[in-house]
């Protein structure tokens, strides 16, 4: 996308590295719990503390989840992958190296589709408004611990919590295909949704289950080619808002910088900057003339991982229900409006599954989505639960919606039955309807009722005959007073028919 600021056009180029914490019970190389929020250093053992003599043992579940992610991201799953040590010193890294994957990552290539109005850098787009963000790779690695810097009374004090040390991460590296802060946010959001849908991660941003680093620079069209600003890596963006704001800030900072010094890649060192949410600025952390030397080499304590074709095939079924699949089901198969479908999709997989269950039990799709968006979501949001905890079985709610569709009861009586079912879900639809005294009123009975009402209200007849057919609405209330089961729609239709026949 070409932006214009101070009348010098440039293109924003962004690549994201997303760290996804995998939803395993235990850490990547030991049996310590990955539970978030425990007292510091209570979920540790000789292995994740890096005590002398301790050795790692691979958690196969993490590999399964990585394969699932790779399938969903259209990546190649490596048949042979291994573990490498990334050597560096830091107090939250007790072994002095991080066990990661260097040259043979478990997933290679692939892409993630996002909603965007800007054209793709490459790759054919099947649908308008979609943009394919290509992936370089995704690899497994262990997380480090947390350093908590506590500065008070002029003394810097750092405390280390190693509960997180050894937690499995999948690092997903994109190509620099993102061209705006909004796109980067959209990419991260769609990535999170995908990981949560497939049970790969809990996607909890507050707990750091999804963190991103952004590589950002600007491309200026110049005579004879492109002038690119030095790439800046912004570290540890752990909210959608932070990603968007940090990149926005960085784009304008780089533009100002370029307008001032005109330096391009190679003329200034690569910078690592940190995002300060309070000041709304990125801050210089370090400048490096060349990339750090981590002295990667294969970890001699672990054996390579062989992934068979059968294993990949077996994982396919677990990677089917993606947000894309949900959209396709709702929009393409059941003709639900895009924007309505998206609300359900964003709400979560179980919400979509509940809606699809309603439809499969016979509820008309349009009525199902309407009830989902109003009644079901209101309950779920009020109670802050997901649809698996919704009290009314899909089959019951579907029956109710069918009953309404067939005119057995009207919408307002339907809502009463819905409320009744929420209170006593085991009651069953028919019993709920009966307990409210709802019985379908026979058409003859309605006709008798309407004849009487018209007779009592001749002014309505006049108005309708004068062309104001909406006037019959005035009779609905009276009809309900006489028989509360009278279907308002049927009352109106019958009155109009009777007036026409007069």
């Amino acid at each position: 996308m070409t932006m214009t600021e101070s009348s010098v056009p440039y293109r924003v180029v962004i690549g994201l590295e997303v760290h996804v914490q995998l939803k395993t019970q235990t850490k990547l190389f030991c049996r310590c719990s990955t539970q978030f929020g425990s007292a510091p250093n209570t979920q540790v053992c000789p292995v994740c503390l890096g005590l002398p003599g301790a050795l790692p043992v691979l958690n196969r579940r993490a590999v399964e989840l990585a394969i699932r992610a790779g399938i969903a991201l259209h990546s190649e799953i490596a048949p042979f992958t291994k573990w490498d040590r990334k050597n560096y010193f830091y107090p939250d890294l007790p072994k002095g190296y991080q066990t990661s994957q260097f040259d043979l990552p478990i997933c290679g290539g692939g892409y993630l589709e996002i909603q965007s109005d800007t054209p793709a850098v490459s790759g054919a787009d099947a649908n308008a408004g979609k943009k394919r963000i290509r992936l370089v790779r995704a690899h497994l690695e262990e997380d480090a611990g947390k350093s908590m810097h506590d500065e008070h009374a002029g003394r810097a004090d750092t405390r280390i919590d190693l509960n997180r040390a050894g937690t499995p991460l999948l690092e997903i590296v994109s190509e620099p295909d993102l061209s705006s802060a909004a796109e980067a946010k959209e990419y991260l959001s769609e990535m999170r949704l995908l990981m949560v849908y497939l049970g790969i991660s809990d996607g909890n941003m507050q707990e750091g289950s999804l963190r991103a680093d952004a590589n950002v620079n600007l491309h200026y069209q110049r005579e004879g080619g492109v002038a690119a600003t030095p790439i800046v890596e912004i570290k540890n963006l752990n909210s959608f808002r932070a990603v968007e704001r940090a990149i926005q800030y960085e784009v304008s900072r780089q533009h100002r910088q370029f307008m001032t010094d005109g330096k391009v890649i190679g003329q200034a060192p690569k910078q690592t900057r940190g995002w300060n949410d309070d000041t709304g600025e990125t801050e210089l952390q370090r400048e490096k003339e060349e990339s750090a030397d981590y002295r990667y080499f294969p970890c001699p304590d672990l054996v390579p991982v062989i992934v068979s074709a059968e294993q990949v095939d077996a994982a396919r079924s677990s990677a089917l229900f993606t947000p894309e699949h949900a959209r396709d089901q709702l929009v393409q198969v059941h003709a639900i409006k895009d924007s309505d479908a998206e609300i359900l999709v964003q709400h979560g997989r179980s919400t979509v599954e509940y809606c699809l269950a309603l439809i499969s039990y016979g509820a008309p799709p349009r009525r199902a989505i309407a009830w989902m968006l109003q009644d079901v979501l209101r309950y779920l949001n009020d109670k802050a639960v997901d649809a698996t905890a919704f009290p009314i079985p899909a089959e019951s709610l579907a029956q109710l919606l069918v009953a309404i569709e067939n005119g057995k009861l009207d919408t307002s009586r339907g809502k009463e039955a819905f409320a009744k079912l929420l209170d006593s879900p085991s009651l069953g639809v028919n019993a709920a309807i009966e307990s409210l005294g709802i019985v379908q009123v026979d058409a003859n009975e309605i006709e008798t009722l309407c004849s009487q009402l018209l007779k009592d209200n001749p002014d309505v007849i006049d108005k309708v005959k004068a062309g104001n057919s909406k006037a019959v609405a005035a009779l609905v209330g009276q009809a309900k007073k006489i028989n509360r089961n009278a279907d308002p729609r049927l009352v109106q239709e019958t009155c109009l028919r009777l007036i026409q026949q007069m």
């Binding site: 000789p46 003599g53 790692p56 043992v57 050597n87 030397d293 002295r295 672990l302």
Partner: protein, 501 residues
């Protein structure tokens, strides 16, 4: 003349027959330790009282008629690089001077399971890096056969405790010859098992792809009993082989007749080989011939690259393995420097702490190997050194694979010379590294290898060692051949001739 030493097997049988008590055995060991360990310096941590208590309880169990494993009630020394909760685990280094492991190594657990008594920790070269047990913070160990000589290394203490009768068995570790070379120097048997045969869990890593723990004993039969206890799959070590453990005692009775031994020409004809070791090997070959063993010549053409290959791979792994000793979490942390004393004014306090703790906590040899490894793994050198070394390692392994297609075992010297003098090589790292010439091949190839005594030098009366190597997982063949030799020559375990032993 002192009484001859009892072998571990003899002690085990006498215990089983209740002719002696475990308590007496331990006491006898403690008495010997008491009288000479201050000079030999082989044990660096001792559980004297606790060992007596354990011995008493084993005696009680035996008296109660309980069926006990052959090692029950027998005191064993373990190298101070194996974690054991009852004693410090220092690796002979200042950086772990006061470190105590919260868990037992799998080897210690196995020995305890079989009722063996962990008598103490034995001396070693710092972090098992060395060939003379001179780089330990506890000072050098001395060879029980001649106090001015080295007992070898890095498992020098483990070899010395067996030679000196401080315990009838010991466990060492072998990354490039650290069990076999001290065994040869001290006149005892030492076995490096197949890589993966014995769990590395709780063995403080030096070169993870090469490290393997193994037993010391005065006879091959003793080695068999100890190996039986410590071998086996361990789910806590991913490189541990998930293969059933065979009976290692049974091959003692197997016939050597009809087996084939390949004599490694490169090792036997090498220029640096001591002539007395050479003639002792020829005599051993004659013994095998007389037993009906077929002797053939074998060539390991890539053997000449083994030292350089080893001294790339081991330091590379070590440089990473030893990163955890950084003063941040446990072990030695250098006292805070004042700004003017700081060697690098620009370094952050954290980097200064790392640098000082590691510079002060590690000895010269360990620092040398960390630097070697760090250099060889650095960007731009990785392909030139580390990757090349891995390629050569494969060729060395291929040499062995080819050889084992036609022979049951390979025969050669364990060391080029008998035990050298203390201080002789400690300042000449290259000379020290050449000590490993005949032994590193087995580590690079991951195969089992054993050193057994084949006599003493005529003048200085120093032990001479023979090395037998065999295909992966065929320790049984080494046991059969080693035992056959010892039976044929009537090998008696004897106390060394050092003046006061």
């Amino acid at each position: 003349m002192k009484a001859p030493l009892l072998s571990l097997n003899e002690i085990s049988q006498q215990l089983a027959r209740r002719e002696i008590s475990s308590r007496d055995v331990v006491q006898q060991c403690l008495d010997r330790i008491e009288s000479t360990n201050t000079r030999v310096n082989a044990y660096v941590h001792l559980r004297a009282d606790a060992a007596i208590e354990t011995a008493k309880s084993v005696d009680e169990r035996r008296a109660a008629g309980e069926k006990l494993a052959p090692l029950a009630g027998i005191p064993i020394g373990i190298k101070d690089v194996l974690c054991c909760t009852e004693m410090p685990t220092t690796c002979g280094s200042k950086i772990l001077e006061n470190y105590r492991s919260p868990f037992d190594s799998s080897i210690v657990s196995s020995l305890k399971r079989d009722g063996a008594i962990i008598l103490g920790k034995t001396n070693l070269d710092e972090f098992a890096m060395g060939g003379s047990t001179e780089t330990s913070i506890f000072g050098p160990s001395r060879n029980p056969w001649a106090y001015d000589r080295t007992c070898g290394g890095s498992s020098g203490g483990s070899a010395a405790v067996v030679a000196a009768g401080y315990s009838p068995g010991a466990i060492g570790t072998d990354t490039g010859g650290s069990i076999r070379q001290p065994a040869a120097f001290c006149g005892v048997c030492g076995l490096k098992p197949t890589y993966g045969r014995v769990s590395r869990y709780g063995l403080v890593a030096y070169g993870s792809s090469l490290d393997q723990a193994g037993p010391f004993g005065s006879t091959v039969a003793d080695i068999a009993l100890l190996l039986q206890s410590i071998a086996g799959h361990d789910s806590r070590d991913s490189t541990s082989l998930n293969i059933a453990v065979p009976d290692f005692v049974e091959p003692l009775n197997a016939k050597a007749q009809g087996m084939t031994i390949g004599v490694i020409r490169e090792h036997l004809d090498g220029k640096g080989l001591d002539p007395e070791i050479h003639s002792a090997l020829l005599a051993a070959i004659d013994v095998y011939k007389s037993l009906g063993v077929r002797i053939v010549d074998v060539s390991l053409p890539h053997t000449k690259y083994s030292i350089s290959t080893y001294y790339i791979i081991a330091p590379c792994e070590a440089s990473s393995n030893l990163s955890r000793f950084d003063g941040a979490h446990y072990g030695y942390r250098a006292p805070k420097q004042t700004a003017d004393k700081s060697s690098d004014a620009s370094a952050s306090a954290l980097v200064q702490m790392y640098s000082d703790s590691r510079s002060q906590g590690f000895g010269a040899e360990v620092r040398r190997r960390i630097m070697l490894g760090t250099y060889a793994l650095s960007s731009g050198y990785y392909n030139k050194y580390y990757l090349k070394a891995l390629q050569v390692r494969r060729m060395i392994r291929q040499d062995y694979d080819n050889a084992f297609e036609t022979v049951d075992a390979l025969l050669g010297p364990t060391t080029p010379t008998p035990a050298f003098r203390l201080g002789e090589k400690v300042n000449d790292p290259v000379q020290m590294y050449l000590e490993d010439l005949f032994t590193v091949g087995a580590n690079l190839a991951g195969i089992p290898a054993m050193s057994i005594p084949i006599g003493t030098s005529s003048e200085s009366k120093l032990p001479l060692g023979m090395q037998l190597q065999s295909a992966p997982l065929t320790e049984a063949k080494l046991i059969t051949l080693g035992h056959a030799y010892q039976k044929a020559v009537g090998f008696p375990p004897t106390l060394p001739t050092a003046s006061d032993l």
